[in-house]
């Protein structure tokens, strides 16, 4: 795998820039031309620094799974890579004329895979080239130019599957026009990204050619116009079955006018045009007006308006939104906010939805004897008037985050069973129901439960597509109330201790020709607890009681955390949480405990170590229990031009009917010359 094209491009661009700047250099003999230098000799090419390095990387991973009623599975994967790196810095003409930096790595890579899951064995050898080359042409120009080419590689680990190699190659040119009245950045680049797994089951590639322009036109002291335009020509392929070639135009104009004393008030106007072709065509036109009036240093009001038209392949959608917002600060104690607004939605199937909303909140804080008192009170009201929707609509790329052990919730009724698709944050990979997750439908929502140890980890962002079935005409009123109070001790031996109570309530009122199809959850939640923060320690204990149409529960939570720096090279931290939730409909008790420990220690002048241990224990009286441990140790060593590291990681996840383990070893070595 060699890519000489970008290197040639860099060299040619460098010489081109040098030639273009040559007349300017001739002037250098007569006076200061080159930025930062007044008198220096012109040189065609001078090597400023040159270095080399040898790198070795070895990775080995072994996964095994035992499950009742199924044969045991073992997957193992080994990667060995040896690289020679050459790096250097040179300049053409002068170090401030054309500055060249380059790092090129090339070598061999061997991969071995023995997959019980895929029932396949494979060995592959590849020639690897990685590089990062940059030419910065400055001269006495007001348009500094950067020409670059880079190729990077990352490994994405997946349980019970070969790791995915993510390779990105990008070549481009960037110019920054140094102008007081219209500073402008122009960038043109080509990006090729590929994700390969060893068996070719999840291969994905994307080729992208992009033109980008951003300019700020300073029309007057208080008035500027920003122009941003991007054109993309993209081809995406996944496996042998999916290909989508499309073009994107994205233009946004932003007009900003500031006024008033100290320029604290402003009017911002946005106009955006977006056009995408291909399999998922979309045209979007949006207009925004945002007015901020700073009446005094304590009182401000905001007024927003937006109108947007989205044109899909087979439908149009119009969105309108208008709102007014007020914020007032009384002395240092009371902040009052209020919002009133309306939204309207129309689509080409004659469906309309009109919404009015109003909300207000008071935040009060006051020093009181022995400490501080914080009180918050808020209320909201929302009235929605919907016409009948006669057709199914598709919701695309709803972003959700997996928060272990809780399910991902789609909080809307009428989701069509079988229509749900879950993917990673980039649309890849596509996860499979039954293997990666399970789906449970409720009258008011859908819960997606992630199956641990199948590739989706705590904190991962997922994109979810689903269909929503036709709905009858309806009016939905939603009222919300929140109130909270907290007292924090600021004096004496109990300094840092606070007690709090929070009340939240949300009610819906639905008027529909078929009320059984539109069901919302009415909830009332009361939380109270104690919290202690001092000198790196944090303790928290709280109790929560929720009344709900569908999911009433009682919860008890405890948290403890401590971070400490023993010395400059020695830190340790521990986090522990325990949560018990007792659901009453249906009756179920969920207990979840997690302990996380991190220790970073400088063992010697040239050696440091990082130890990490995570434990989790989940007891669910309906869905069973699971326990897991994930531990890793990394040791880094460096002496003069030699660095080495080793990482060892072991995981165990044990459930009622299954057990799976992972062992991972990575060794790296680098010697510079």
């Amino acid at each position: 795998m060699t890519t000489p094209g970008p290197i040639r491009l860099i060299v040619l661009a460098g010489f081109a820039a040098a030639c273009a700047s040559a007349p300017a250099q001739q002037e250098a003999d007569e006076g200061p031309v080159i930025v930062g230098e007044t008198k220096s000799k012109w040189r065609a090419f001078e090597l400023n620094r040159f270095g080399a390095a040898l790198e070795f990387l070895g990775r080995s991973r072994r996964d095994s799974r035992e499950q009742e009623g199924q044969p045991d599975l073992t997957d193992s994967e080994t990667l060995m890579r040896e690289l020679l790196e050459l790096n250097g810095r040179a300049f053409i003409g002068h170090k401030n004329l054309v500055d060249l930096t380059a790092t090129v790595k090339f070598g061999l890579e061997d991969r071995f895979l023995d997959s019980g899951t895929a029932q396949a064995e494979d060995h592959s050898s590849d020639f690897t080239t990685l590089f990062d080359i940059n030419a910065h042409a400055l001269g006495n120009s007001k348009v500094p130019l950067d020409v670059y080419a880079r190729r990077e590689q990352q490994f994405l680990e997946r349980d019970f599957a070969s790791s995915v190699t993510n390779t990105t190659t990008e070549t481009g040119v960037m110019a920054a026009i140094q102008s007081i009245t219209a500073p402008t950045t122009i960038k043109i680049f080509r990006n090729e990204s590929t994700q390969d797994d060893q068996l070719g089951q999840f291969d994905f590639s994307q080729e992208q050619n992009t033109f980008f322009l951003h300019s700020t036109l300073n029309l007057a002291d208080r008035h500027r116009l920003e122009v941003e335009y991007t054109f993309d020509d993209i081809t995406e392929r996944q496996g042998a079955t999916f290909e989508n070639a499309y073009q994107r135009h994205n233009l946004q104009l932003t007009d900003v006018y500031t006024f008033g004393d100290e320029k604290l008030s402003e009017l911002r106007s946005y106009l955006r045009y977006y056009d995408q072709s291909g399999r998922f065509p979309l045209r979007l036109l949006r207009w925004d007006e945002r007015l901020l009036l700073t009446h005094t240093r304590r009182l401000e009001t905001r007024y927003n308006f937006s109108a947007e038209r989205q044109t899909f392949a087979d439908s149009d959608q119009d969105h309108f939104d208008a709102s007014a917002h007020i914020k007032h600060r009384l002395f240092e104690s009371l902040v009052s906010t209020g919002t009133v607004g309306t939204r309207r939605f129309e689509d080409s199937s004659d469906f309309t939805s009109t919404e009015w909303y109003v909300n207000g909140e008071l935040e009060y804080t006051k020093k009181v004897p022995g400490g501080r008192l914080d009180v918050t009170v808020g209320a909201s009201f929302n009235a929605q008037d919907n016409s009948e929707r006669g057709s199914t609509i598709r919701v695309l790329d709803e972003s959700q985050t997996f928060n272990d052990p809780f399910p991902i919730v789609i909080s809307r009724p009428r989701v069509v069973p079988g229509s749900i698709e879950v993917t990673g944050a980039t649309g890849f990979p596509i996860y499979q129901e039954g293997f990666h997750y399970t789906v449970q439908f409720f009258p008011d929502r859908v819960e997606i439960r992630i199956i641990l140890g199948r590739g989706i980890n705590d904190g991962d962002t997922l994109l979810i597509d689903y269909d929503v079935a036709p709905t009858p005409a309806s009016t939905v009123d939603t009222t919300g109330l929140t109130a909270s109070v907290r007292y924090t001790i600021a004096e004496g031996s109990l300094i840092g201790l606070s007690s709090y109570a929070i009340y939240r309530r949300q009610d819906h009122s639905v008027d529909s020709t078929d009320p059984t199809t539109l069901i919302f959850d009415d909830t009332s939640t009361f939380t109270y607890g104690l919290e202690y923060r001092r000198d790196g320690w944090r303790f928290k204990g709280e109790r929560e009681h929720q009344e709900s149409s569908f999911t009433p529960y009682e919860a008890t939570r405890f948290e403890a955390a401590y971070d400490h720096q023993f010395s400059r090279g020695s830190t340790a931290g521990v986090d522990a949480t325990y949560e018990m939730i007792e659901y009453s409909n249906p009756e179920n008790t969920l207990e979840f405990a997690r302990l996380s420990f991190r220790w970073n220690e400088t063992l010697a002048h040239s050696t440091d170590a990082l130890l990490r241990v995570d434990l989790r224990d989940e007891q669910d009286s309906l869905r069973g229990s699971s326990r897991g441990v994930d531990s890793s140790l990394t040791i880094n060593w460096r002496k003069r031009q030699t660095t080495a590291y080793v990482t060892v990681r072991a995981t165990l996840l044990e459930a009622d009917t299954s057990e799976q383990t992972t062992q991972f070893l990575e060794v790296g070595f680098r010697r510079e010359f």
Binding site: R298, L299, I326, H328, L330, F331, E332, S333, L334, S336, G338, V358, N359, G360, E361, L362, E363, T365, K366, K367, R372, D374, V377, G378, A379, S380, F381, A383, P443, D444, T475, D477, T479, G480, L481, T488, D507, S509, V510, D511, P515, T516, I519, D522, S524, R533, D535, G536, R538, E547, S548, S549, F550, P552, D563, Q565, R568, T571, N585
Partner: protein, 200 residues
């Protein structure tokens, strides 16, 4: 609260009216205070309920008859040249400083812009008047406002990492409890006694 959704009846009227009325009352009540003027008679009452009420009895800058110099009031800080009426030390000719360029300060406070390992941007750029008032102030060190009010002019709360540093979300905490204003020898301009990661 009914647990059977089919048995629920529309309750648009009561809840809606209640909430709407409450919102109006809350916003109205809050903004009644907007017109509230602090007087000698209501100062103690307001101070009982609110922090930061300006004291109408606080001494403003006055002329000391004995020395003829300007003297700061009880809650004030005052710039020495202003107190000494040495206006010409700063105001030469038609000089008018701006918040972005207060390099004049360096003529006396020389080296402030580079005295620490980690410098605050406005200090390094000699934009002193972003945070300080050149004459007098109701806050210490000629600060224009409370430290949190000043810092959040640029460091808006939404930009601060409240997950890793929960103190950022606590509006009762002052920024200068943990950070220094000009700079320091620790990253993020943390005070020596403040918790935090070295090198982070």
């Amino acid at each position: 609260m009914s647990t059977d959704p089919q048995r629920r009846t529309p309750r648009r009227s009561a809840g809606a009216r209640l909430t709407a009325a409450l919102v109006v009352v809350l916003i109205g009540a809050a903004n009644v205070w907007t017109g509230c003027t602090v007087t000698k008679s209501n100062y103690k009452t307001l101070s009982l309920f609110f922090d930061g009420v300006p004291d109408p009895d606080a001494r403003v800058a006055t002329i000391d008859e004995a020395t003829g110099k300007v003297v700061a009031g009880a809650n004030m800080s005052i710039h020495a040249p202003y107190a000494d009426e040495s206006c010409s030390e700063c105001h030469r000719g038609r000089l008018r400083m701006t918040k972005n360029n207060s390099g004049m300060c360096a003529s006396c406070h020389e080296g402030k812009e580079r005295e620490h390992d980690y410098m605050h941007g406005p200090v390094a750029a000699q934009a002193c008047l972003w945070c300080h008032h050149p004459h007098e102030s109701n806050h210490k060190h000629l600060m224009r406002d409370s430290d949190r009010a000043i810092c959040t002019m640029c460091h808006v709360p939404e930009m601060l990492s409240s997950d890793r540093v929960p103190e950022h979300a606590d509006s009762a905490r002052g920024c200068l409890e943990c950070h220094t204003g000009h700079g320091g020898r620790r990253p993020f301009m943390l005070r020596d006694a403040a918790p935090g990661k070295e090198g982070g």
